[in-house]
Amino acid sequence: MAMSRTRLTALTALAIVGLAAGVTIVRYATDDSDVGDLPGTSRWEVTLTIRGESAPGKAYRVEVSNPPSFRRQHVYELHYDSKEVAASEGRAAAAKDNPGRKTTLKPPTTPIAGAGAQPYLVTQKFRATLGALYSNAAMKSGDRADNKPNPDNDRTLAATARIESDHPDIVKLARDLTTGWEAKEDQYRAFHEHVRGLRFRDTEGNGSALDCQTKGGDAAGRARLLVALCRSQDIPARVVTAIHLRDDATTVLHRWAEAWIDDPEPGRWLPADATFGHFGPADWPQTYIVVRLDDKSLVRGPGAKVAVRAEPMGGPPAGEDPPVRAFWRAVSFASLPPAEQHLVRFVLVLPLGALVVGFFRVVVGTKTFGVFTPALLGLIFRDTRALPWGLGIFAGTVIVGWAFRKTLDRYSLLMVPRTAILLTMVCVFLLSVVNVAAKAGVHITGYVALFPLVILTHMVERFWTVEVEDGTWSAFKTLVGTVFVAVAVALAVGPEAVSRWFFRFPETLLVVVAALLMLGRYTGYRLTELYRFQDVIELQAAVVKPPYTGNGTAEAAPAKTAEAPALPAPAGGKP
């Protein structure tokens, strides 16, 4: 009976692995290039290198804008790499940043006062298809940026320090230029032609609109002047911050203007590049990647310098799209909007974490609190630089909570109120840790925010229960086991390559299921049992005749003594 169940499990696992391998092979056979990329007129791999140095002893952060997927522009496989700073993960990232717009990177700990300046280096890498032939979900969601502007909120009519649309000179110039032009598009074109003709002067992107008019300017100044002219005539307009891709020379940052022209209803954003003289979408270059739809800088961070490198990607030209490829593209996670992609990456590796926990519990015999708590902990701290802090806080909370729990036991309280008090105490403890750490100049809020407080409280209850039933020593051993397994999970799911693999080949989850199936029928000894039953091994080796004498039933007894010594070595594990 047991045999057949084990065999059934093994066969099922084999079939599942076969299925996963099949899917991967079909993927390769029908689609050798990346499914994330859409057919379009050009495909690029872009690398932004950001260097800077923090002010001595000061906390710092680096904010990098993420290019959107919208219109005919599709951005995918965006990721960051840095030794000094890290992006926040999971829910915290979704709450703090809009992963579609920007990513905030921070060093894992804040330097203690007196520390020297810290240099940092961040690279942002992404791939982009320009002039895409179809739009996917990510691009459709990005198209919201093209909705009708609402000047009260988006300030598309406001004067700013560098876009002085209310300056008398600008207003007068705008009025002069529009004389004789009724339609907004014609007025806009007149502005464009005027700005095009101005002298070029490099201001490193800092020139204002007025400066550009009087002394000349670069792409930034020209874009600002064009926007200022539009705004002074009540035409909503915005600066577009972008990257101009060039494979033969240094790729540069670029800016142009977009104005909302609603003469022929329903209205549209009309781009105008007063540097290279492009006007309107008809002759718009396929080498411009939009990064921001405003005038803010691409990167914010102490002393940040940005260098851009872009390489055109080879591979099949993307004119035609056979149905198989279209299918893969439709099911690929790469077509999801960025925020969803972020979540998908997190969720995809959770089963892998569960597999690691399963291995440690079943094969090694490590005791842990809760089944998936170590998996969750490991996943939260998969950026291993945060690991010591996070696990330290975790262990500290459990031990302090346990001391509270011991005190509470004297009152014999009912479960729900008791747990609620415990939750309060866990909160107070965490807040004290945050407070003390902040006073000492260490900012740990990033990690504390990630802790699910209810799970922590539950952990305290579990710790207490184990202590009462099996003793303090056993409870501490279980705590160490939990931390140990959490570290193993963090190491397993941490590498970027792992989450990228699962992202690209989600069928790998089937392999995880197959491995779990096999674990589910694993009947061998646990590693810890090799030590637990040590005495039995030694005594059995010493005894010549096994002392086992029978089961006590009268009719079976005589046969037993004769049979017992002759028993073959029992098959402890393998069916």
């Binding site: 169940r5 084990t6 479960m415 009462v468 000894y525 091994i537 002392p547 098959a571 594990g573």
Partner: protein
């Protein structure tokens, strides 16, 4: 790695049943989940024992709700000594042993006095789920107090010794005697420091003993030898185990039996996930008898 391999081989040769093999091949394959409630609740077990004629401590009363607290005085009236315990308690939590009473107060097993209100409070706590692990509501049971059989007096310190018998497919396969010590606080719980003494199934005589995973020959508190002790009523004990196993419909269970000074062996409870430490107490593996039974049943 080599040492691991040697240990693995040693365990196999000794026929030790591992946790994974126990869970998959014995419990999952032989103990249907739907039968678990029968052994989890002490009241259901009591009723079952009555039906199949297995002696068990008398159940004086079961209090199912806070409302029934009014009747507590009347229910306790005829009894000078008794035990109050939660129906689904674990690890001996919430057990209150009363050994005597005067007109106002009750005497606990450790000599402490307790008022009637104190008892009511305890019962109320049990019903509210103070001692059930999940925190769910529970029932309070008032049971006959087991007076330990005098032969066990020399080899146990306070508390009540009990006998654990593992029954596989209705045949006893291994047994041990659990002896409370000072360290275990009178509880017959191995990892709390009680002695586990392996009992030879055919003769009912202890042949090996373990204290805190170490081989032991004498009781640490009384100094009496724990090896070579003959458990009284041994045939009855095996017979009771078989009957219970047949009645609960599970293939692999642990049966706990205590020895009362007047009534002899009484069934305390059954366990659907009996621990593996019994193999250490016996210095023997469970696999040889389990596999022998499997083979015999197949032959039939």
């Amino acid at each position: 790695m080599i040492s691991w391999w040697r240990r693995w081989k040693g365990l196999r040769r000794a026929g030790v049943l591992g946790m994974n093999a126990r869970n998959t091949e014995r419990i999952l394959d032989w103990n249907p989940r739907k039968c678990f409630p029968l052994v989890d609740g002490k009241r259901a077990m009591h009723e079952l024992c009555h039906k199949i004629g297995v002696p068990t401590p008398d159940l004086y009363a079961a209090l199912l709700s806070h409302g029934s607290l009014h009747h507590l005085t009347r229910l306790l009236a005829g009894h000078d000594d008794f035990v109050i315990k939660p129906n689904r308690g674990a690890a001996g939590r919430g057990v209150l042993v009363i050994t005597g009473r005067n007109s106002f107060e009750y005497v606990r097993h450790n000599g402490q006095l307790m008022s009637h209100e104190g008892i009511e409070q305890h019962v109320s706590g049990i019903i509210s789920g103070l001692f059930s692990l999940g925190g769910s509501e529970d029932e309070a049971l008032v049971q006959q107090r087991v007076v330990p059989h005098p032969v066990l007096g020399k080899i146990s310190y306070q508390g009540t010794a009990d006998i654990r018998v593992i029954v596989y497919r209705e045949e006893p396969v291994m047994a041990m005697l659990r002896l409370p010590t000072k360290a275990s606080g009178g509880r017959a719980n191995l990892h709390q420091g009680a002695i586990g003494a392996g009992v030879d199934l055919a003769t009912g005589v202890t042949h090996h003993a373990v204290l805190k995973n170490r081989k032991a020959e004498k009781h640490p508190d009384t100094g009496a030898s724990v090896i070579g002790f003959e458990v009284p009523y041994w045939p009855q004990i095996l017979d009771m185990s078989r009957k219970v196993s047949r009645a609960v419909g599970m293939g692999y269970i642990g049966v706990d039996i205590v020895l009362d000074s007047t009534r002899g062996p009484l069934l305390l409870e059954a366990n659907a996930r009996p621990g593996l430490a019994i193999q250490i107490s016996n210095a023997q593996g469970l696999l040889p008898p389990l596999e022998r039974i499997d083979r015999e049943r197949r032959r039939r």
